[in-house]
């Protein structure tokens, strides 16, 4: 498969050193855009594009967090549930005290706390990431429903929406938040000691242990950072929806995150990929969602397609790993 894609490109005399995964994603992206151009040119109106980015801000921020964890060789299934619970905690405090900064701070702290819990269980107690975060996801989901009785929390202070729905230079604040998160994450992963350690740990924990890398601390930190980004996304999602509820962390969100990461070239085997890839992956997932809407295809068929996409990209990734060996 990988060879085929490279060969096709070589046949067209496009010599490239790019990762075949990125190429596949790029081609999909192009195909989606051409399709949209032919079927609904109004998609490309500036307003709509801004809208798309606004839509994908939450997913993209969560995907950034997931990319950090996945590069470190783990997975965090609890991110959407974390986001929902943090949004609920923060909103409750915000409404009780009327203080917007305090409410936002609570969302961030809650996100970090849940992330630390995951990190502690995985790095210190050496539990399996998949199981731990699946459990945290269930726990957070359970608390969310229990605390809210499945009722959305409205009536956050007006000031909250004034701030986070504000437009700066014609663009919604959420896009700026996303861009800041993206730049910070990308810098942290590519240009700091921490980032280099995460890639190394994701590639081989045993080499790192011998090379005096504090493997446990590094792993712990990846989950804390992912938790923090879940807290940030809690703020953005609450502002955009005008409410906080248990449902904002429903199961389809985690599917979207994993899809965004794998089509963005973040390896499920650890040690490979870039946050910016995960972010582009999130944009592609949202655009695909829009196309499905446009074609009036059912939400459930959409889920199915995303599932297939994950399998396709993970198998491509596996082939790539084998090829390198």
């Amino acid at each position: 498969m990988v060879n085929m894609i490279t060969r096709i490109l070589n046949f067209g005399r496009i010599k490239t050193k790019l990762n075949p995964l990125f190429l596949t994603t790029g081609l999909m992206f192009l195909a989606a855009l051409i399709f949209l151009f032919l079927n609904s040119p109004e998609f490309f109106w500036l307003n709509n594009i801004v809208n798309i980015f606004n839509q994908c801000a939450v997913l993209a921020i969560l995907s950034l967090g997931m990319s950090i964890v996945m590069i470190g060789g783990g997975i965090d299934l609890s991110l959407p549930a974390n986001m929902a619970l943090s949004a609920i905690f923060g909103s409750t405090i915000m409404i009780l005290t009327g203080s917007v900064p305090l409410g936002c701070l609570i969302m961030l702290i809650s996100g970090v706390a849940i992330g630390s819990l995951n990190g502690f269980a995985i790095a210190r107690l050496r539990m399996i990431p998949f199981v731990v975060t699946l459990a945290t996801m269930t726990i957070c989901g359970g608390i969310s429903v229990w605390v809210t009785n499945s009722v959305s929390i409205f009536n956050q202070p007006e000031k909250f929406f004034d701030i986070f729905l504000a437009r700066v230079l014609g663009l919604p604040l959420s896009i700026y938040i996303l861009i800041i998160c993206l730049i910070m994450t990308q810098i942290a992963m590519s240009f700091t000691r921490f980032g280099w350690m995460v890639y190394a740990v994701g590639t081989s924990p045993s080499v790192c242990k011998v090379s005096r890398i504090p493997v446990k601390q590094v792993l712990f930190s990846t989950y804390v950072l992912a938790g923090f980004l879940a807290g940030v996304s809690a703020i953005v999602v609450t502002a955009r929806l005008g409410s906080a509820s248990a449902n904002i962390g429903n199961d389809s969100v985690i599917l979207d995150i994993v899809t965004a990461c794998v089509i963005g070239g973040v390896s499920i085997y650890g040690g490979k990929g870039r946050p910016v890839g995960a972010c582009l992956g999130a944009v592609l997932v949202v655009i695909l969602g829009n196309i499905l809407n446009l074609l009036e295809i059912s939400f459930f068929i959409g889920l199915m397609l995303k599932g297939f996409l994950i399998i396709f990209f993970v198998s491509l990734d596996g082939l790539l790993v084998k090829q390198n060996e």
């Binding site: 980032g195 011998v210 005096r212 890398i213």
Partner: protein, 493 residues
């Protein structure tokens, strides 16, 4: 098997190997690491094919393309790593290759009664219903042998069957081997424990560098003869180092003990000294060096380091901070194969190549990588090349290089030349001696007596997880070999 040859790429694993098996007799196959035992047995077991030479069974030429082929001629291989399914019962484990089934339904009764019968033949009274996870290693061994027996073997290969057995279990295994002999099975017994050979085997075949150099009946040989054959004659060893060295103790390890990995170890290491750790595989030499830098849990005992002219007790963590450890498992613990030379060399030096806020200074990282490449003359096109694409020797130099940049006080080399060609071996030894000349203290483990003797200033003899003796640097090959065989014998008594 006659004149078997096998090469893997440029490396010759077997150049001329022959082995003769007789019905109802046990042949011991011994040889140092990399002598070619496994390759020879893999050919016999049908796992790989030979390049040249022939296999004869009952004077008829045969060719095996797969383990199934080999099994058809009654050849069964019991590997060192027991292939056991822990969540299954004894009976299911024995029948895992060939469940007897009617219309796809497995008859539990048949497999259980056959299991009972097989185990009884081996003199074991294991319950076929028991789950394997509750069994001892010795009993697991029994299960695997019973599985091999199911194929009615004429030739049974036992690869280091005793490496993890208790004394009592070993005796039980010896009884089983006796029974198999009586039944006319020819057995190849691979082991690192020389004393065992004299308990069960009828003859010994010794391999060295891909050649079977001797086959003798057991009563014609003895302990030290076998070890001598295994290790070979070391052609006039030229000491690579002059004798003048400081006598300042740098490291002192006192009564170190780490569960069953290290029983007891006390030794001293001078500044700028190369201390050769001499022991057979499985003697606990790797565990000893890993224990002092805390890679295998926290050991008991005291570790002292010379600081400001005084010996001060330190933690394993502290020691690890000033130690460079070149692991015997280069691919698993040495280099990050899919990553670039740049990132590999930066790994233990991240603090050195980063500035404020933990930002990596790419310039510094590049300079570091270039320095490593130049100083050890590593053959790479540039520092962005993936380490996985380099030769073994160059990969090992990357490991050395990344550690040298940390300016270690202690260097631990665990089989640093394993799998390298002769010129790379020489270069690695040269680097080590240069370091010692510059005041780095070195613990050096090697299975090759020749290279150990070339650069060691002193020897530590380790056997059965004890540090048993210490020998001066001018010891001859004979003294070293007899030190080992004496202690091997001693522990067997």
């Amino acid at each position: 098997m006659q004149n078997i040859k096998k090469t893997y790429g440029p490396i010759t694993a077997l150049s001329n190997a022959s082995i003769l098996l007789k019905e109802g007799s046990v042949v011991a196959l011994v040889g140092a690491n990399g002598a070619g035992k496994s390759t020879l047995m893999n050919i016999l077991g049908g796992i790989t094919a030979q390049d040249d030479g022939e296999l004869l069974v009952n004077d008829k030429k045969v060719n095996f393309n797969s383990p199934v082929d080999a099994a058809r001629y009654g050849i069964q291989f019991v590997h060192q790593e027991l292939s056991i399914f822990k969540t299954m019962t004894v009976a299911e484990n024995i029948f895992i290759n060939q469940f007897p089934a009617q219309f796809g339904i497995i008859s539990k009764q048949v497999i259980e009664s056959t299991t009972k019968q097989l185990l009884a033949e081996l003199g074991s009274n294991l319950n076929p219903h028991h789950y394997v996870e509750s069994l001892s290693t010795g009993d697991c061994q029994m299960v695997v042998i019973a599985r091999a027996m199911l194929g009615n073997p004429k030739i049974l290969i036992l690869d280091e069957p005793t490496s993890s057995l208790s004394k009592y279990e070993k005796e039980k295994l010896n009884l089983v081997i006796g029974r198999l002999k009586e039944a006319g099975v020819a057995i190849i017994y691979i082991t690192h424990f020389i004393s065992e050979i004299f308990e069960v085997c009828d003859s010994v075949t010794v391999m060295r560098n891909g050649v079977t150099i001797s086959s003798q009946a057991i009563h014609e040989t003895d302990n030290s003869k076998i070890i001598e054959l295994m290790l070979g004659d070391v052609a006039s060893i030229e000491k690579k180092r002059k004798k003048e060295r400081s006598e300042n103790i740098f490291l002192k390890v006192d009564k170190l003990q780490n569960e069953n990995k290290v029983k007891e170890a006390s030794f001293e290491l001078n500044k700028g000294e190369i201390l050769g750790i001499w022991g057979l595989l499985g003697s606990g030499r790797t565990e000893l060096v890993r224990s002092i830098i805390g890679l295998d849990g926290e050991p008991k005992g005291t570790i002292l380091i010379s600081r400001h002219g005084k010996l001060t007790p330190v933690s394993t963590e502290y020691l690890s901070g000033i130690t460079a450890y070149v692991s015997e498992d280069r691919r698993g613990e040495g280099v990050l194969l899919p990553m670039s030379v740049l990132k590999n060399t930066a790994l233990p030096n991240l603090k050195k190549v980063s500035g404020n806020l933990g930002m990596i200074m790419l310039n510094k990282a590049r300079n570091l990588a270039t320095r490593v490449i130049n100083s050890l003359s590593i053959k790479v096109s540039n520092f962005d090349q993936t380490v996985g694409t380099l030769s073994g020797g160059n990969q090992q130099k990357i490991v050395f290089g990344k550690w040298l940049e940390t300016e270690p006080d202690l260097l631990i080399l665990d089989e640093p030349t394993r799998g390298l060609d002769i010129s790379a071996k020489g270069e690695i030894l040269k680097i080590a001696t240069d370091l010692a000349n510059n005041g780095v203290s070195i613990l050096f483990i090697s299975s090759e007596l020749e290279e150990l003797m070339k650069i060691s200033d002193r020897y530590l003899i380790i056997s059965e997880r004890y540090v048993v003796a210490e020998l001066p640097g001018d010891s001859t090959q004979d003294t070293l070999i007899s030190a080992l065989s004496k202690n091997v014998q001693g522990s067997a008594a």
